[in-house]
């Protein structure tokens, strides 16, 4: 009871104020603008709610702050549910907020979470239904606004990086009324005719309202139904949309989507050239090996008529190898000319046919020297034995020079 004649101590007066305020005001919803927003190291949020004439200091404890679906910013219109408390030490009152919702777009957040949950439960985000992004696309379809920065970003990246890739734009408005339908139509149009290897759909950064078309269920379903693989690039790196979850690949930005989609032209050419060099080198090695085997036969079987033929063919192979060193470009033609004579020779003089008769070729493992004489080899040397079918390696147990 308040006694008008009583003299109160500061503490008693404060206790009185505290009890009047705290007992008479139940938790209330307060709408206002966020200001002086701050997150303390402890995780608690401190901010003021204000309007044109008043200010209400507010605290949100860490536990409640964890469940926030948005990032509070000064100037944002919000609605807070809270209880008024008095802090005796400083004689100030404040609100302890348990809930905080962004105004206007609060519904969008709820809708986002609802749809995300629904589609996720349907399995639309599952990895096993993601289509593989083609590794070497030549034509990329883009669904975005013809007026936006996205299409020029993508074209710039591809011009620089992959000038062999053709970009086909199907323009669609990417925000506002009807945008979702236009995006759906564009995706369907690509799927029903235009010859492209994959699609990039996206738009630049913006508020959740700007990005909303990419959170619409019709768009999500069109992406899921697309036979063409789709890369989704909506907003900035930190923005996630439903489209990103359904698409086969999410790119942080539209430029990144172009980079993810197309390998570098120069890298591709270099890769092909390097494979070509590798097969040139491998065939040269094998021809040299073959030449060496012919040498060995020359020694082992000194049949004169055979030698004569061998020499002829050996010369052809040697000159082939010479030419190969000099001019790779002409090699193919020379091969075509010489292939027949080489084949003929192989038919009559296939080293395999000698092996077939039960002979083997023994060589030293460390340098591939073919062994003809026991003094070429010592105990414990590792040797390779080429048989008619297969090869084997062995270690020498004993060396004897007897014939």
């Amino acid at each position: 009871m308040i006694n008008e004649n009583k003299i109160y101590s500061v503490s008693d007066a404060t206790t009185l104020i505290k009890s009047v305020l705290e007992m008479n005001i139940p938790p209330i919803w307060v709408e206002g603008e966020l200001s002086s927003w701050m997150r303390a190291a402890s995780g608690h949020l401190y901010f003021n709610l204000k309007d044109s004439s008043s200010l209400l200091p507010t605290v949100m404890w860490k536990q409640s702050a964890l469940s926030l679906l948005f990032k509070p910013e000064d100037g944002m219109k919000v609605r807070a549910l809270g209880k008024i408390t008095v802090y005796e030490k400083s004689g100030k009152y404040q609100m302890i907020a348990s809930q905080l919702q962004p105004l206007g777009i609060g519904d969008l957040y709820q809708e986002f979470e609802r749809l995300k949950k629904k589609l996720s439960e349907e399995g639309l985000f599952d990895d096993d239904r993601k289509k593989e992004i083609p590794r070497y696309p030549f034509r990329i379809g883009v669904v975005t606004s013809a007026k936006g920065a996205v299409i020029s970003d993508i074209i710039n990246v591809l011009n620089r990086r992959a000038p062999h890739v053709k970009v086909i734009l199907e323009s669609a408005r990417v925000q506002g009324e009807g945008a979702a339908e236009e995006i759906v139509n564009a995706i369907e149009k690509f799927n029903s005719g235009a010859e492209v290897d994959l699609l990039i759909i996206g738009r630049g950064g913006g508020s959740i309202e700007d990005l909303w078309a990419f959170n619409e269920e019709v768009v999500a379903r069109a992406i899921a139904a697309s036979e063409l693989p789709i890369i989704s690039a909506v907003g900035h790196e930190t923005d996630y949309s439903i489209s990103d979850f359904v698409a086969d690949l999410r790119a942080p930005t539209p430029s990144a989507a172009a980079e993810l989609a197309a390998p570098r032209y120069d890298d591709l050419l270099e890769n092909i050239s390097s494979l070509e060099r590798t097969i040139f080198n491998l065939i040269s090695d094998q021809l040299r090996d073959f030449e060496r085997i012919l040498d060995e036969y020359d020694t082992v079987y000194s049949w004169e008529q055979f030698n004569k033929m061998l020499t002829e063919e050996e010369n052809k192979i040697s000159s082939l190898i010479e030419v190969m060193k000099l001019n790779e470009d002409h090699l193919l033609n020379i091969f075509e000319l010489k292939a027949n004579s080489i084949r003929k020779m192989l038919d009559s003089l296939n080293p395999i046919s000698v092996l077939e008769r039960g002979y083997s070729i023994v060589s030293l493992e460390r340098n591939d020297t073919i062994i003809r004489n026991a003094n070429q080899i010592s105990e414990n040397d590792a040797i390779k034995v080429k048989l008619h079918v297969g090869n084997l390696t062995a270690t020498v147990r004993e060396v004897s020079n007897e014939f």
């Binding site: 062999h164 053709k166 591709l268 092909i272 491998l282 065939i283 094998q286 192989l346």
Partner: protein, 68 residues
């Protein structure tokens, strides 16, 4: 590439894959020279096919840009 028809229908990706396969086969080094030469010839044709496809595509895109 057994016939011209296959050559036309051969996609860049398939060609590059086959080229890689040929490199692996030749690297194993267990082929008869005759077979190796055949693989080699096929490989060279494939690498030229891939390069041509890339270059032609780049020229076409360049041409389209000029038209615009």
């Amino acid at each position: 590439m057994s016939s011209d028809k296959n050559k036309i229908e051969l996609t860049f990706e398939d060609a590059l894959e086959r080229l890689n396969e040929i490199v692996h086969k030749l690297e194993k080094g267990d082929k008869k020279l005759e077979d190796s030469i055949q693989l080699f010839e096929e490989g060279v044709k494939l690498s030229r096919f891939c390069k041509e496809v890339l270059k032609e595509a780049a020229e076409k895109v360049e041409g389209l840009k000029k038209e615009e």
